[in-house]
């Protein structure tokens, strides 16, 4: 579990020493009623379809994941010595809950799942993604997305 007090001292110190950019105050965007919301997933697990190019270390680009994805096409090229891919290997929903979003859509708990979802590489310095993130924000709006969930790994 990721409580720093439960991790080895050296590893916890390493995590705390990672540089974090100052993004200033977060803008507050009013969200729609969940039952009307169109929801997209933004993942930083380095996910992509088998037919896509793998992510390189430090990549600042993204891969598209279609809303009608067949999970047998999905793979993950973000690796780290300090987490493993066994959770993903057993069940991709544990880090990319698209099937669950579809279920919530079918139940009427959300308006809809987006047509496209987006995946970035996890270990990249986030400041390098500023430009791509802006592009993705525009693409989300074009897809009429009204709520985005951000899921790290």
């Amino acid at each position: 579990m990721v409580r720093l007090k439960d991790l080895p001292t050296e590893y916890a110190a390493h995590l705390l020493s990672l540089p974090i950019a100052d993004y200033g105050p977060s803008p507050w965007a009013e969200a729609p009623d969940l039952k009307q919301a169109r929801v997209a997933i933004i993942s930083t697990a380095g996910l992509h379809r088998e037919s896509d190019a793998k992510f390189a270390g430090g990549a600042d680009d993204y891969r598209l994941i279609p809303g009608d994805l067949d999970y047998s096409e999905l793979t993950m090229s973000h690796v780290s010595v300090d987490f493993d891919r066994s959770g993903f290997q057993q069940d991709p929903n544990v880090l990319f809950p698209l099937e669950l979003l579809r279920k919530l859509e079918a139940n009427g708990e959300i308006g809809s799942a987006a047509s496209w979802h987006y995946s970035f590489m996890g270990a990249t310095d986030p400041t390098r993604m500023d430009e791509t993130a802006g592009q993705v924000a525009k693409l989300l709006k074009e897809d009429s997305v009204t709520a985005a969930i951000l899921i790290p790994v």
Binding site: I20, A29, S77, S86, F88
Partner: protein
């Protein structure tokens, strides 16, 4: 665009201070908590989506439930395949290589079954396919014992990063095979790591590889007048919290 984020390291989220965050007490690599447990995952997802109903922020909420996969629930899992013996008639490195190849062979049917059932695999970062497992395994033992072997054929590049990717492919092969073995459930992350690093020949090779590459790097540093040599640090396939080798009796 309204956003709601899962937070894995609360201290990081407190610094970044995004508009809506749900901190979860789960292992890295499992932000929804537990594989193959849609009810638990839905609980996390509903809490995350529930943050969109907040009228002001920034807000960081703590998810109140630990993952149902615990050390206790996970302790019962064990690999059904025995640890292949080390033959005493050859050199230690050759004995380890033969034992590792035997281990790889014994996992092959379960890896193949995993690919058949899931229709996918996380093997392939090195650019090779799982058909090259024997060549990758033998290469790693040779490097770990200080030799300078030929690289397995078919690699798109040959450098320190390639060794790291081959180590990740070996891990993928082992973990996907372990997931598939008969039993009530697949191992959780901690149990998987204990098996991989402490109970397999591959784990032994990974510790040898780490130590050999670190020693070579130290020699280069001395030869470079005490300055770190150019290039990336040596690949290390061992996670920080498994840094200590297991006691010999554990193997």
């Amino acid at each position: 665009m309204p956003t709601a984020a899962i937070s894995l390291i609360r201290e990081h989220t407190e610094q970044i201070n995004p508009s809506r965050s749900l901190w979860v007490p789960f292992e890295l690599g499992r932000p929804l908590g537990a594989p193959n447990n849609p009810e638990f995952q839905l609980g996390v997802l509903r809490s995350l989506l529930g943050l969109f109903e907040k009228e002001s922020g920034p807000v960081i909420e703590d998810y109140p439930h630990d993952s149902p996969v615990t050390e206790e629930s996970d302790a019962a899992w064990s690999c059904v395949l025995p640890l292949p013996p080390l033959e005493s008639t050859s050199t230690p490195a050759e004995a380890l290589k033969q034992s590792l190849l035997q281990e790889v062979g014994s996992l092959a049917p379960w890896y193949a079954e995993s690919v058949r059932r899931m229709g996918r695999s996380t093997f392939g970062l090195s650019g090779l396919t799982a058909d090259s497992m024997p060549e990758i395994a033998a290469f790693m033992v040779d490097v770990a014992s200080g030799e300078d072997p030929d690289w397995p054929p078919g690699l798109p590049e040959q450098n320190a990063r390639t060794i790291r990717y081959m180590a990740d492919d070996l891990k993928a092969y082992y973990m996907e095979a372990a997931n598939e073995q008969p039993g009530s459930s697949a191992p959780g992350g901690e149990r998987m790591w204990t098996w991989l690093y402490h109970e397999t020949r591959l784990g032994q090779v990974f510790y040898d590889l780490r130590d050999q590459l670190a020693a070579e790097h130290a020699e280069k540093t001395v030869a470079n007048g005490g300055e770190r040599p150019p290039g990336p640090p040596p690949p290390n396939p061992i996670p920080t919290r498994y840094a200590n080798r297991p006691e010999p009796a554990a193997r």
